[in-house]
Amino acid sequence: MKRFLVLLGKELRELATPQTILPIVLVILAFIGLGKVLSQQSKVASKPSPVLVVDHDNTPASNGVVKLLKKGNLDVTQQTADPDFSQSISEKAVVVIPAGFGRDLAAGKQTTLDTYTVQSGFSLAKIANATLLTGVTAQLNAALAAQRIAQISPRLDPSKVLAPVKTDEHIVANGKVANISPDKIAAYLGSQITFVPVILFVVIVFAGQMVATAMANEKENKTLETLLSLPISRTTIVGAKMLAAAIVAGLTAVAYIYGLHNLQSAFTGGVAVDDATRAAANQLGLNLSTSSYVMLGVALFLGILAALAIALVLGAFADNIKSIQALIMPLLLLLLVPYLATMATDISTLPNWFRGVLYVIPFTYTFQTMPNLYLHNYSTVLLGSLYELAFFIVFMILAGRLFASDSLLTLRPGNLLKRR
């Protein structure tokens, strides 16, 4: 045990160098900085958008349009002259009410409002300008239609004519029913369900690269032969390398979680979930108990161990650090395929052969752990964790044999079945 700790200390010293710590610190600082900038941007975005209204009609009807626009989150300024689009204007959109607008409406004719969206860039925020007037136009139509209905038939309730069917939304989950919009529950759980795979992806890639690089370093620095001749078992060497990588990757994960949390808060604007949504989620059992958190922790830990074992085997075939990027590619693929599949598709609807491929990859179970826990599919989570454990054991045996064979020095995969 003491020798293991001595070796672990050396591995940690080798991994936690300024060269590895500095980029992590920079990434976290970048996340925090980006979070602050985005948070300011979302505050700016929540301010009323400037809109110019050119009223050529100047009737009660056109004034009604202006009033309706002002009720929306718009900062309306009015003028009677058409704007000169060859000059830059500060407004994000322009609405032109033509002369005769009020008269045509009164006559029951369909009339036209000219709208202009000022496209001053193509960032997500600028592209969002395109929909600035969409909601207002719909409201305008609804209000004018209601007025018209009231004029034609005062006995009718315009709101019932315009929306004869209203939906009372419910959501069913875990065999329970709650009276709430599915969108709200999806938004409440979505961020948590997507956050874990992102962190996991980053940590696994980082830890995998770290352990593979540690192996390549031993070869490049010509220290491997000496290490193999020292009075320590090959299992101790493998274990110390993996644990050191896991510790550094774990600490990195905590740091990344902090940075990403800042970034995510900026996207959501730090808006707290309303009590009704939280109560509905609890009613549906869409929450994690202490045992669920334990199961989540075990699944994540086993996922990281499986990745480390794969990386260690791959890293054993590296003869220098340059070759690590290419050698680690299979691990990245094993991560990327289930990551995208679980994030973007419903696995149960995928072709059988592809589902088979996904279920062979241990990380599929890791990425599915959060949704499965929310949906109380505990047996699926347990079976997934058992599979990850079996996968890890197989790769550890393979890594142990690799370290005990000539393959580590000869870079040939043969003779792995013979052990020292």
């Binding site: 220290t223 193999l228 001749s229 009075p231």
Partner: protein, 240 residues
């Protein structure tokens, strides 16, 4: 007392036989040198003895322990200095020695004794507190040799111990190897440098194409082949 015995040793890489039927032994306090051209099988033989490569056939015993069956115990008794070895550049020389000593002995007193001995051998003084990445080749080689010598092993396996070093550093390292043998360690080394071999070795083994062609003292070999120096002996044996 024989520390190392190698019997009918073979090593095959695919279709290539790197080592063929090699037999020799090294006694306590003896320096035995393997001499041969590049690719003759010297390093492969040393690696098999150092428990790093597995023999295809044959037997290696160190202090009575079978290298394949009891590799863990064997590693307690040996130290190995590979030809192109390096050290962990992020560590200081002193941390490196402490790390290595810690692996050889969990006992703090013993560990300190090893480190003190290594510090004395390296003669690097305050430079031991600098990162190994800043060391010259000679300083690194001395540090590695000190690591290999600090435990006073039963068998020290030194592959080209003075490879790439200047005359002064080489002389110093040869003296250190001599001193190690005088303290009772059996030394098995390989080298291309015939002067070094003649200066250091008690006995010499000539390897050509994976086969041990001759074993004897420098004088006996020169006399047998009627040669003025070891280079001539080597040439005659290699061409025979």
């Amino acid at each position: 007392m024989e520390i190392l015995t190698v019997t009918k040793l073979h090593k095959r890489y695919g279709q290539t036989e790197a080592v063929h039927d090699i037999n020799f032994s090294v006694s306590q306090g003896e320096i035995f040198s393997l001499v041969g051209p590049n690719g003759a099988g010297k390093s492969t033989t040393l690696r098999m003895i150092a428990t790093i490569l597995r023999p295809t056939a044959g037997e290696i015993k160190i202090a009575g322990l079978d290298v394949q069956q009891e590799s863990g115990k064997v590693r307690e008794l040996i130290t190995y200095l590979p030809e192109e070895s390096g050290a962990y550049k992020a560590l200081t020389g002193r941390t490196y020695l402490n790390f290595m000593a810690g692996l050889y002995s969990p006992d703090a007193k013993k560990r300190d004794e090893y480190v003190r001995r290594a510090e004395e051998i390296t003669d690097l003084g305050d430079k031991l507190d600098a990162k190994i990445g800043t060391y010259s080749k000679g300083m690194t080689r001395k540090l590695l040799l000190a690591r290999a010598m600090m435990t006073e092993p039963k068998l020290a396996i030194l592959d080209e111990p003075t490879s790439g070093l200047d005359v002064l550093n080489s002389l110093e390292i040869r003296k250190l190897v001599r001193r190690l043998a005088e303290h009772g360690t059996a030394v098995l080394l390989s080298s291309h440098n015939m002067l070094e071999i003649e200066y250091l070795s008690d006995r010499i083994g000539l390897i050509v194409h994976g086969q041990l062609k001759e074993v004897g003292t420098a004088e006996a070999l020169k006399s047998k082949h009627k040669a003025r120096n070891l280079e001539e002996v080597f040439l005659k044996v290699a061409q025979a």
